[in-house]
Amino acid sequence: MKLSKTTTEVFNEVGELTYFTARFFREIFSPRFEWREFFRQCYVIGYKSLPLIGLTGFIMGLVLTIQVRPTLIEYGVEARIPAMMGLSFVREIGPVLSALIFAGKIGSSMGAELGSMRVTEQIDSMEVSGTNPYKFLVVTRVLAATIMLPVLSSLSDVIGIYGSYVAFNIRGAMTLRLFISEVFNYLKFSDIFPAHIKCYFFGFAVGIIGCYKGYFTRLGTAGVGRAANSAVVVSSVLIFILDLLVVQITDLIGIG
């Protein structure tokens, strides 16, 4: 059987990425974890993406509430807005929205940063000076992304629900306290838990794709732009695929 060139390339890339990911799990447990670089990455990642994730979450809560309200009034269930928005944010909008913003902001900057380090030989230089560049650059970044995304997503939930409260109170009056207690009345552990878990997968996906694309940048400076760009495209698509898988799995084992 003769495969076309692009098909072979796709299979090659999937193979390389699998190997790259396997290396992550091998190297994360070998001694001399780069703690300082890890904490620096957590800080940088949080600080870079929090404003954007907060802003989009707020606007999303605001806009959705304004748009669903007339329909809910028609059915006489306006009072269910807090419950509905709480559920949608915690289960889907918070995680996916933050993951997509995260891919755009953090995935691309990892691709570009490691890419330019590759083409200016900084990665080779680390290796020559006795530091394992995979451990120093990739392990710390991927782990930081994996841990930070769930945190950012939870913040996005909170800010989004607050946005919804603000929109609700444009017409109508409900205290914040009542609004929040309405949200929590309808939230179960089985809503929060799978959604929280999938954030770790999203964060890991963004981190590993961004680092993979950057780490293997070729063809000089032009390659850096391409690495950043394809990091965003691939990780965004992967986020949706993972989301689909998680829904199927949690459905199957009966939580959520």
Binding site: V128, S129, T131
Partner: protein, 258 residues
């Protein structure tokens, strides 16, 4: 093939036959592109060997094989008595401490200050040093290249020539026995280039290092070379001192010197 390894002048003067690097019959190809096709040379202790070749002739590939950043397809490389192709990762790291590498693009870490750049090789290799000693070494290295005042600046604040000097200071910080220079003057103006070449000679005299300088800048070759090996079509096409090669009648060699 008749020209392979033709010695234009006998080189090994009696008394200096103590090779620190021996490369034998090195082959390296990227798919169809055969870059090295049986390259041979020896670097003697204390000498500066220039490897002369045009852009894209495989000079960087050659020294990256020597430092273990690339694996050759065939051949053997011996550095300071170690066969580097059969070395474990740990032993390779130890060996790399004795071999400095100055990258063509400087490879300064642009998110770190000059001080952090210079400390980076020490965090692994000399982690037993205390803060005072680390600082002393950093300043000493920077003074060697005349840039002590830049210690708290970022690489992007420095000119190309200064970046090259800082990169050299970072290479010197582990006091290597061998230094490999990848096109040290490419991309610099002629005057700055000559300054860097002089600095290479100065460092060689001060620390008695053995060096390989890769270049196609004839000014730099003239200043630094004790001996020259010409890399052409993947082999060591000719070797000799600057004077013998300048006098050569071979057309392929002449084109470097006009």
């Amino acid at each position: 093939m008749a020209r392979r390894d033709r010695h234009i002048a006998p080189l090994n003067e009696p008394g200096i036959n103590e090779p620190v690097i021996t490369v034998h019959d090195l082959y390296k190809a990227f798919q169809q592109n055969e870059v090295l096709r049986g390259f041979n040379f020896e670097l003697q202790k204390g000498e500066t060997l220039v490897i002369l070749g045009r852009s894209g002739s495989g000079k960087s590939v050659l020294i990256k094989c020597i430092i273990g950043l690339m694996k050759p397809d065939k051949g053997s490389i011996n550095v300071l008595g170690n066969d580097i192709l059969s070395l474990s990762v740990q032993d390779m790291d130890k060996l790399r401490m004795r071999v400095g590498f100055l990258f063509q693009s400087n490879a300064l870490y642009d998110s770190m200050t000059i001080r952090e750049n210079l400390e980076f090789p020490m965090r692994r290799h000399l982690s037993n040093l205390d803060a005072d000693e680390v600082n002393k070494r950093v300043m000493e290295s920077l003074e060697d290249v005349g840039l002590a005042h830049t210690v708290d600046m970022m690489p992007s604040e420095l000119s190309g020539g200064m970046q090259k000097r800082v990169a050299l200071a970072r290479t010197l910080i582990l006091k290597p026995e061998i230094i490999l220079y990848d096109e040290p003057t490419t991309g610099l103006d002629p005057i700055t280039g000559a300054e860097i070449s002089d600095l290479i000679v100065e460092i060689q005299e001060k620390y008695q290092t053995s060096s390989i300088v890769i270049s196609h800048d004839m000014k730099c070759v003239e200043i630094t070379a004790d001996r020259i090996a010409v890399l052409l079509q993947g082999i060591c096409y000719a070797q000799g001192t600057y004077e013998t090669l300048v006098a050569s009648e071979d057309a392929s060699i002449k084109q470097f010197f006009h």
